[in-house]
């Protein structure tokens, strides 16, 4: 049973069909719905940030407790970002940008190293889990070897300080094979993802919208 009212269902169905009409050819109804979507999204986002950031994290805390006056400092830094809109005062935006770049670098360098690079390097050189849960040592050796060789060959492909000739050339060519297989897996999953979106809309039209006619 759908949680939407009949008016909502009809509106959703109209918008879905209007967007799908582009598949036949561009038309005014499609452009109208596309413009409404862009306008609604921008308005909704502005309202959300206004409420959840400016009001909840700056205005309300200052109103309720004067010891929160220090919050004016980050708010002013945020306002300084808009100085980029004028040529004369644009240099002022470098101050908040310096904070953003500094804090982002600090957070990202540690998190990428600790949460991504080191665990992935460790896993590369650990015995791999065989699909299906097999504990056959030969399967584990073969799979683990493929992973190690694949990682090294792919890294060699992206090593550009030496001409890709001889051993480095052969390894780089092997790396291309691993990269291509990876692209194939990504492409397959991407097809599945995009098709799922179409299925979702058709499912809505058939089960929710048309289904509401029959109750």
């Amino acid at each position: 049973m759908t949680p939407f009212s009949p008016i909502e269902l009809w509106l959703m169905a109209f918008v879905t069909l209007a967007i799908f009409s582009f598949l036949y050819k561009d038309n005014p109804v499609y452009r109208l719905v596309e413009s409404i979507f862009a306008g609604l999204s921008a308005g909704y986002y502005f309202g959300l940030v206004w409420d959840t950031v400016l009001m909840q994290q700056v205005v309300d805390p200052i109103k309720t407790d004067s010891s929160n006056l220090y919050l004016i400092i980050p708010a002013l830094l945020g306002i300084l970002l808009f100085s980029r809109l004028t040529q004369k005062w644009s240099y002022l935006s470098r101050v908040p940008l310096a904070f953003v770049i500094g804090s982002t670098s600090g957070i990202f360098i540690t998190s990428r190293l600790q949460g991504l690079v080191l665990p992935q390097i460790r896993t590369t050189f650990m015995p791999q889990n065989v699909p299906g849960g097999s504990t056959d040592p030969w399967m584990i050796v073969v799979l683990s070897t493929i992973v190690v060789v694949g990682v090294i060959a792919t890294l060699v492909y992206f090593y550009f300080s030496h001409e890709h000739k001889g051993v480095i050339g052969w390894t780089a060519r092997l790396g291309i094979w691993f990269i291509m297989i990876s692209f194939g897996a990504h492409f397959g999953y991407t097809v599945m993802g995009r098709v799922s979106l179409l299925i979702g809309r058709v499912q809505f039209l058939v089960e929710d919208w048309i289904g509401s006619f029959t109750g």
């Binding site: 949680p3 598949l23 036949y24 999204s41 909704y44 986002y45 959300l48 940030v49 959840t52 950031v53 909840q56 994290q57 309300d60 805390p61 804090s103 982002t104 957070i107 990202f108 540690t110 998190s111 990428r112 600790q114 949460g115 991504l116 665990p119 992935q120 460790r122 896993t123 791999q128 889990n129 699909p131 299906g132 849960g133 990876s182 897996a185 990504h186 999953y189 991407t190 097809v191 599945m192 993802g193 995009r194 098709v195 799922s196 979106l197 179409l198 299925i199 979702g200 809309r201 058709v202 499912q203 058939v206 089960e207």
Partner: protein, 277 residues
């Protein structure tokens, strides 16, 4: 013009029509093809099943409405599984458009089915800008990042949030995402705070998330509509994802046929023009 050239010049709208029919037909004549469980989805199921009853779980709604077909079934299945174990749920969204409102609608609907009460059994924190800062900040104090919930109620007035104020009070994180936030939940929150987690990701993201499965940073992974369908089946609530899998299978066959035909046409065309001899 030979047959291969005619095929190469076919109006793409015929292909759109074929895809539309392939998706539509299984909803009119359902086939109910079997859905097999993969180890990644079994990992999600086991991780949630093994949580002690009444555990506090953070469920993320990090997705836009455009990917609802893949992600909403994951959220619904997760809620069924978690509410049936009497888990306390804190929902959060790092996506401004869609996430907070979808969380509100879906969580309230499922909570009503299990007789759960807002504020005591579940809370919707809503959205806050800058997800990296939010993820780091939640490690110190949830109340400092979210002074109020999605409806504007101060967290101090919600009984559940009087007991939960940082990752230390959260037993498990169930990520459902269609974008890079999943990556940061793992590389920041799992790596630095050690909170165990699993992930429901769109199919486009799934290949990248497999790396986190291999390293043990994720307990399980739901990849796209297929992953959602497997999870629905495991928890015994076959819903939209399971019903969508017939269409998924049929259209995949069509696309495989089109890819083979396209390549065949390309090589036959080259052969007839004498290229590559």
């Amino acid at each position: 013009m030979n047959v291969w050239e005619r095929l190469a010049a076919i109006d793409r709208r015929w292909i759109y029509l074929a895809c539309g029919i392939a998706v539509l037909m299984p909803f009119i004549i359902p086939v109910s093809l079997p859905v097999y469980t993969t180890p990644e989805v079994q990992g999600v199921y086991d991780a949630v099943k093994n949580l002690p009853d009444s555990s506090v779980v953070m469920l993320t709604y990090d997705y836009y409405p455009s990917t609802l077909a893949e992600t909403e079934p994951m959220s619904r299945a997760a809620l069924h599984h978690l509410f049936s174990k009497d888990c306390k749920i804190v929902t959060i969204s790092n996506i401004p458009l869609g996430g907070p409102t979808i969380a509100e609608r879906v969580t309230r609907e499922l909570a009503a089915q299990y007789g759960k009460e807002y504020g005591t059994d579940y809370v919707n924190l809503g959205y806050k800008a800058n997800y990296v800062a939010v993820m780091k900040g939640l490690g110190s104090s949830i109340r400092s990042i979210f002074p109020a919930d999605n409806s504007g109620t101060p967290l101090g007035q919600l009984p559940l949030m009087q007991e939960v104020d940082s990752y230390e009070d959260i037993d498990f994180i169930f990520i459902v995402a269609d974008n890079a936030t999943a990556d940061y939940w793992v590389s920041i929150v799992n790596a630095q705070y050690g909170v165990p987690m699993c992930c429901g990701a769109t199919a486009v993201m799934a290949p990248k998330m497999y790396a986190f499965m291999g390293s043990g940073q994720l307990k399980g992974l739901l990849g796209g509509m297929k992953g959602a369908a497997e999870y629905e089946q495991l928890i015994g609530h076959k819903d939209r994802a399971v019903r969508g899998m017939d269409a998924q299978s049929l259209i995949h066959l069509l696309i495989i046929g089109l890819v083979v035909l396209g390549n065949l046409g390309y090589f036959m065309g080259r052969r007839e023009k004498g290229i590559g001899r």
